[in-house]
Amino acid sequence: MESSLWRKRIEGAVRAIGRQLCMMLVAIMIVMGFLAVSGYSPFIVWEGLGRAFTRDLAGTIRWAAPMILSGVAICIPFKAQVYNLGVDGQIYLGAIAATAVALALPSDGSLAGLILVFAAAALAGAAFAMIPAILNLYCNTDIVVTTLLLNFVGEYLTEFMAAEVMRDPEKLTQVNASRTLPESLWLPKLAAFGNSSANVGIYIALVIALFVSFLFFKTTLGYEIKLVGSNAGFARYGGIRSSKVLLKAMALSGAVAGIIGAIEVTATQHRLVAAFNPDIGFDGIVVALLANNNPLGVLISGFFFGGLKNSGNVMERVTEVPNIVTQIIMAIIILTISANVTVRRRKRKKEALSK
């Protein structure tokens, strides 16, 4: 029986990956059509993607880490049918906390210091994500709306911190940014890629994605999250408090988002810069959707999206095709996914009716 369980899981995984690849291909084809119509060479997309996964792999790895983590952050509450659209805000809060702790630490900080920085970021992200959860439990506000609106709070709070509170007084530039972090607290780069943007963040993303899949499939909390998501009435009848599960799921999601903020600060920016986050949280929604909400699938779709993001930059650099093309691809992927979902739902409805 155990083997049949595994066979089913493997079959499911293969099917999911095939589905991902198909949808990406469809999206790329459509974008190629758009490019051809607008007078560009449609093969630029392939060129950009090709470079992103070969010569410019370092950039892809740099972007894959936040993409994967963002997908994971979306996955956790989504499994409980809760939509956390506030990952971007939680990333900002994580970044603020990471910077504050890093700047307060003695400059000869070692690994312990770095761990402290990440812990602070995770806590800040979690705390920020708890706000909409608590509001939902006690005031019955809609989580989608509150998480979404709190993104602005996160963004402008970061700007305020960077421009006023933590602003580097010695720098006279126009950029609103804090002092630079001591170099001992920079996240190490990947040695294999020399002096590039690829950093250890990808390992952190890998470990967290694996940890969350363990959480989903092997722990009691994962079971509770799944039950609350598939039938809250059933979970309640079994004595599971869905309010507790909601708080835990949102806190975990926020913590993962906070870690994204810490990675961005310690690995790439090395300081707190206003508006540093290019909507990573929203990309995470697509990443999670494409992976059918499976944290292992997120590893693949997140990596692909890292490549997409990177290839956009590459294309802009090499040709005159604007970066925005990557966003069109993402939008089309969302469309294909939702079309797929509705088709499946219709089919199921039809079957149910004819029964």
Binding site: L5, Y223, S230, F234, R236, G238
Partner: protein, 509 residues
């Protein structure tokens, strides 16, 4: 006599199953034709084909000797076929009149000609002896009256053939008798009726011919006068079933559950409890009779802790549990088969084993320090599936793929295997076929014989009467009568169910 309906060699396939395999049904003009079979036997499929809701893969449908092809229920209605579904399709906030004329509205210019409609419906009510107040709103009516509205609705559409899908499942005995009488009258007036039901007694009482289906094929058909209960149930189940449930003699032990003047809060669509006092002892089944919606739902849920008690006390083994959480009550030994399998009894996108471990997933040996042992869980689930006769290849299938009866067996397996002190069984056999019904009742009897207390809440009076050592009757959230086994017959209990009689019920003298 000519045939009104001939369904000839109908085959209908769904992915993975053949719902109807070479099914032929002949219904004579002006007769009541019984259609019997377990859930999933293919009755609904064949009726959906007749009513134009789905189309057969093979086979033909003849109406009064003429071949017809329906593309939608509208076609069927136009040809004179009407269906009264088990779940009524009425708008609760509209008047009876408007519900009847919906879609077939007589018009005077742009406005509805209500007067003409009233007259036409009046004629129908006169002719068939069906009385309903046309000005009343649907939500003010009883279940029996709503059903009458559905029948009038069909007749108003000039229907000559009526399909009644399990019409008696929701009725009291008196209402059932009234319906059977109405059916006879409709027949005399020239209607042809197809009567789908689980209840053999009603089939034998009212039908002329009967067709029995099992697993997508017709297993028997013939004159009702040549049938009896034994013969029919053998055709339905495929083997002899004993309708008797073996039980030890009644020897109640200690008090397991005590309720003292428990009331619940008013909530929309629900009847609250008013100062309910109740005792359940070891080795005793207390049956709750009552028309649906008289507080049964609140009674089960307030004991299980799903809804709070507004006042009063609930004691389990002399211990106060009025304020305990659902989880605490479960750990103290309350098991609960909820009335709504799909909404509360199961998570249909989760696997069978995930559904089975709900009560114990966070305890050894299923999990240690939050990490679950899937090997152990799978093994125990397989054992439970085998022990409780759940028909499935293995326990990793999602529970939504099971039939209603099998799903209920999973719920029963979960709740019964937790070795409870008290079992609350709310509608344990609702929508479950004969085989599974018999099985579930036997299991409930086993629990009683093992010295557990059982509260059996059921809309099926037969079930309550056959199983219970004590029967209480709920009417508008109050206990209006209490009987020992055999003290009252179904008609007497029926009077209490309808509120026309009441006793003073007290406990502990």
């Amino acid at each position: 006599m000519a045939f009104a309906i001939e369904l000839l060699n109908i085959t209908k396939r769904f992915p993975g199953v053949i719902a109807n395999n070479d099914v032929s049904v002949h219904v004579e003009e002006c007769e009541i034709h019984g259609l019997l079979g377990e859930n999933g036997a293919g009755k609904s499929t064949i009726m959906n084909i007749l009513y134009g809701m789905s189309r057969p893969d093979e086979g033909i449908v003849r109406l009064y000797g003429k071949e017809v092809e329906f593309h939608s229920p509208m076609d069927a209605i136009q040809q004179g076929i009407g269906m009264v579904h088990q779940h009524f399709k009425l708008m609760p906030d509209e008047t009876v009149l408007r519900n009847i004329i919906l879609g077939w509205t007589p018009k005077k210019g742009l406005s509805i000609d209500e007067k003409k409609a009233m007259e036409e419906i009046g004629v129908i009510m006169e002719q068939y002896g069906l009385k309903v107040n046309l000005k009343a709103k649907i939500h003010q009516l009883s279940v029996g009256e709503k059903q009458r509205v559905e029948i009038i609705k069909a007749l108003y559409r000039k229907v000559k053939i009526l399909i009644l899908d399990e019409p008696t499942a929701v009725l009291t005995p008196a209402e059932t008798d009234a319906l059977l009488e109405t059916m006879q009258r409709l027949k005399k007036q020239g209607c042809t009726i197809i009567f789908i039901t689980h209840k053999l007694r009603e089939v034998l009482a009212v039908t002329d011919h009967v067709t029995v289906m099992r697993k997508g094929v017709v297993t028997g058909t013939g004159l009702t006068s040549e049938m009896n209960v034994g013969k029919l149930s053998k055709l339905i189940v495929g083997k002899e079933v004993s309708m008797e449930i073996p039980m030890k003699s009644y020897q109640p032990g200690k008090k397991v559950l005590e309720m003292k003047q428990v009331s619940t809060a008013m909530r929309p669509g629900r009847m609250p409890l008013k100062e309910i006092s109740l005792e359940i002892h070891e080795g005793e089944i207390v049956g709750v009779a009552g028309v649906d919606g008289n507080g049964q739902s609140d009674l089960g849920e307030v004991i299980a802790g799903l809804i709070p008690a507004e006042s009063g006390n609930i004691l389990l083994d002399e211990e106060e549990i009025t304020k305990s959480s659902i989880r605490e009550r479960r750990q103290k030994g309350i098991a609960h088969v909820p009335e709504d399998r799909l909404k509360t009894g199961a998570a249909k996108d989760c696997t069978i084993s995930e559904n089975l471990i709900l009560n114990c997933y966070d305890q050894a040996p299923f999990s240690r320090r939050m990490v679950m042992d899937h090997k152990k869980i799978t093994r125990v689930s397989e054992e439970l599936c085998e022990k409780y006769l759940v028909k499935t290849p293995d326990s990793t299938y999602t529970i939504g793929t099971l039939s209603g009866g099998n799903m209920q067996k999973v719920v029963v397996a979960r709740e019964f295997s937790s070795s409870p002190r008290l079992l609350i069984a709310a509608q344990p056999t609702r929508g479950v076929d004969i085989g599974a019904t018999q099985y579930i009742r036997t299991k409930i009897a086993e629990l009683r014989d093992a010295g557990k207390g059982v509260l059996l809440i059921s809309a099926e009076l037969d079930e309550v009467m056959a199983m219970s050592d004590q029967i209480i009757v709920l009417y508008e959230g109050e206990i209006v009568a209490r009987f020992k086994r055999g003290e009252a017959d179904e008609y007497e209990i029926g009077e209490y169910m309808l509120g026309s009689k009441r006793q003073e019920v007290t406990y502990g003298e």
